[in-house]
């Protein structure tokens, strides 16, 4: 995982609440056995493409303004549903680095953090402003846990200390767990 310190990007807005993981990556794409390549065709497939596979021009990601955006602003409870890590894999593969909402589902949040995709949960007033102003340029500072709006206002968001450490340093949690091997072995002996 690459270190993630600051994100500066225009936003793409998908205002719907409860965007579930079946929308982010429909199940028919889950027979893959790799992590890569989900951005091109699987991400939001049934919203991006019609039944014939042609891009739907009214879908936000198919509009020119969305090109190059790395921040997705979404309605409440983004990523609800299944545990498929294919959802953050696809978002990262497409180019996203952060998802901003008022609520992000637990498993999606955990999966996102392990792939360098920052879950940003902010207050409803700031979120409503972002929903109403699609395409604004914002800056997200991982270390300060702060999102800066273009008018100079800034909004704090929660980020668990260890998750922040891993993002800032590009550290993989598995390395940390493997260093606990002696304590794991001791636990196993005492609970045998």
């Amino acid at each position: 995982m690459e270190p993630l310190r600051q994100i500066r990007s225009r936003t793409v807005v998908m205002a719907s609440n409860n965007i579930d993981t079946d929308q982010i990556v429909p199940a028919r794409f889950l027979t893959t056995t790799t992590r890569s390549g989900l951005g091109a065709s699987a991400l939001f497939a049934d919203w991006r493409f019609d039944a014939a596979g042609k891009p739907r021009l009214d879908f936000v990601l198919n509009q020119p303004a969305a090109a190059g955006c790395r921040v997705l602003v979404a309605g409440r409870n983004f990523g609800c549903g299944s545990s498929r890590e294919h959802a953050p894999w696809a978002l990262v593969d497409y180019g996203f680095q952060a998802v901003v909402s008022t609520e992000i589902a637990d498993i999606f949040r955990s999966n996102a953090l392990k792939n360098g995709l920052l879950p940003v949960v902010i207050d409803p007033t700031s979120h409503a402003w972002l929903i109403e102003h699609p395409g604004v340029e914002i800056t997200i500072d991982v270390e300060a846990r702060r999102l800066a709006l273009p008018d100079g206002r800034s909004v704090d968001f929660p980020l668990e200390a260890f998750a922040r450490y891993c993002l800032l340093n590009g550290v993989d949690e598995l390395g940390f767990l493997l260093k606990q091997t002696d304590r794991i072995a001791a636990f196993e002996r005492s609970h045998a």
Partner: protein, 460 residues
Amino acid sequence: MLDKIWRDHEVVPESQDTPAVLYIDLHLTHEVTTPQAFAALRSGGLKVRRTDRTIGTLDHSSPTDPAQAFGRVPIAIESAGRQMAEFERNCREFGVELLDMKHADRGIVHVIGPELGLTQPGNTIVCGDSHTSTHGAFGALAFGIGTTEVGHVLATQCLLQRKPRPVAVNISGRLPPGVGAKDLILAIIGKIGVGGGTGCVFEYRGEGVRALSMEERMTVCNMSIEAGARAGMVAPDDATFSYLADRPRSPQGDAWDKALARWRKLPSDAGAAFDREIDIDASTLEPMITYGTNPGMVLPLSGRIPAHGDTAFRKAIDYMGFAPGDAIKGKPVDVVFIGSCTNGRLSDLRSAARVLKGRRVASGVRMLVVPGSQGVKRLAESEGLDRIFTAAGAEWREPGCSMCIGMNGDTVARGKYSVSTSNRNFEGRQGAGARTLLASPATAAAAAVNGRISDPRELV
């Protein structure tokens, strides 16, 4: 109860800077969410730490058509076949026990865990599948994880976790006759919404849950995730212990007595603190059915679709082809699916069979009945349930997730209506453009008989 199980599994307690290192007793694995985790182990030169605490099954992308399931013809979806073969190779290479396609115990991961006695009170259980919450019915802490975490558990038998917040769901009263566990959990999700449990573990308490059988408790815990709660739990009691007694992988002899003594201490102490309490009276409930594109958009069968709502509501209603104010009863049905980790156990099949016995599936309706495991299939066949289904014109299949997720080719066509006993009515869940209405096995069977949404209490 959450606190007790958590404390018992802390290899390293959590601190301000780091999450807890939590020990995992049982790791259930399947073909869809593991290939990238095994690849990570391979590239890191790592082994599976505890093959004795890891078990694999094929369920999500596996065919339910007997000819494909038993290798008489090739698997129609090539990528699914490749994924299954890769899982078989990974299990062989890393020494993980696999219940393969020909194994007499194979089935949906959340059906076989309890059935084999692997799921036990007080255990921590994980799987790369959000419906792992099912196992909480036994007083276990069970939750779904992503593929990176699957790799962590394979390599270290541990996870880095912050403790979730305990929430009490108090169920007073008993369900009226003709109203089941699926109706209860749909009513709970309708009450608190699909994000109502984010960050929480539900503990279902009260007379309403005590009166449920173990299979019914599993249905309730299974759909905790549809309210956003990563896990749902029920304190173990005599129903739990008698379910587990003499299961093939339950503790036996002295070990059973010791386990029982431990399990009896698990229930939350009187006065245990909860972050929040949610109250629901089971005695007032009716059969429930969803009308929209998430499980929180739910109505009693006698209800009407709300007249107003926000943009997402209107989008959902448009997708479903319904109009605000419509009665849900009487809506036409194209497909009926009985099965899944929510409602694919023996009692679910019995409940559907009671409605179907001596009747026919309405003309133009396709009905698929998919038992949750080979064990469920054998028991159902020994009672003659399969003959009731096939005589009615339904298809009786090999076990798997099937039409719940539609990865194996069992799908619903664009624009068609499916009454399904599964857990998710998201857009396209059962196939691109498919329209899903979630309901109990009895309600689904009634829809099959009448070709329309119907009240099963009028048929039994």
